[in-house]
Symmetry: C2
Subunit: 135 residues, 2 copies
């Protein structure tokens, strides 16, 4: 107990078991889902190129709604992957950038996104073959 | 037109524009979503250790329903990442394994899953800090 009569924060207490994404209740699964979410992947990959404002992110990541982008950024900020910098100016300006931890995650999802783009023709050919065999 | 009076399959016709996951209508985004989907990540990572039967996958990937596992495997098979081998035996037996293309994708998501497990303590600490600052 600390002076406020509360249990002290003990992160390691949540980690008595070895983290395992295959375990349904392991919190690592939620982290992996934030990093690999539809918009999480794209936002991390874009931020690898440097600091962006909210409006820039929204323009770059095609099709994302304001609400989904805000939610995605907040999840990534809370997980320690994204740093949010609100400048006390008029009009308000908020910059988003990667933390060192976020940069490690972003490098990996960036590579996966580029790999997907490079192999799109193979995947589309596989789909044609699959659909033809079913028809 | 071919002899059946149909347009010949021309995968490249779908790729006139350079694939770009940031473009809302680019098909590469759907492929990336299959690879990074909640269950897609985990199924690919498990298959990296070798061929698995449906029931083995279901046991290994904690919390996945039969329906979601079947849908995930079918998406990955159609995209050319997973090979499905149905043996004509009684009782029926179906084996799933990675194709060479799937193995490339799986190595990347496996690395991301392991990275997430290894950095879980950092993320949980970041969440404590974030929540404390908001409280």
């Amino acid at each position: 107990m600390d002076v406020r009569g509360e249990e002290p924060i003990d992160v390691t207490a949540k980690l008595r078991a070895k983290p395992d994404v295959n375990a349904a209740m392991c919190p690592s699964r939620g982290v992996l889902e934030h990093v690999t979410s539809r918009w999480g992947v794209l936002v991390l990959a874009v931020l690898l190129s440097g600091t962006h404002r909210f409006s820039e992110l929204r323009r770059t990541v095609g099709g994302v709604s304001e609400k989904m982008l805000a939610q995605t950024l907040q999840n990534l900020e809370r997980d320690g992957f994204v740093h949010r910098d609100a400048h006390p100016v008029i009009p308000p300006r908020v910059d988003y950038s990667l933390t060192p931890l976020g940069e490690e995650a972003a490098r990996q999802v960036w590579a996966l996104a580029r790999w997907t783009e490079q192999h799109l023709a193979d995947v589309l050919q596989a789909r044609e073959t699959f659909d033809a065999a079913r028809a």
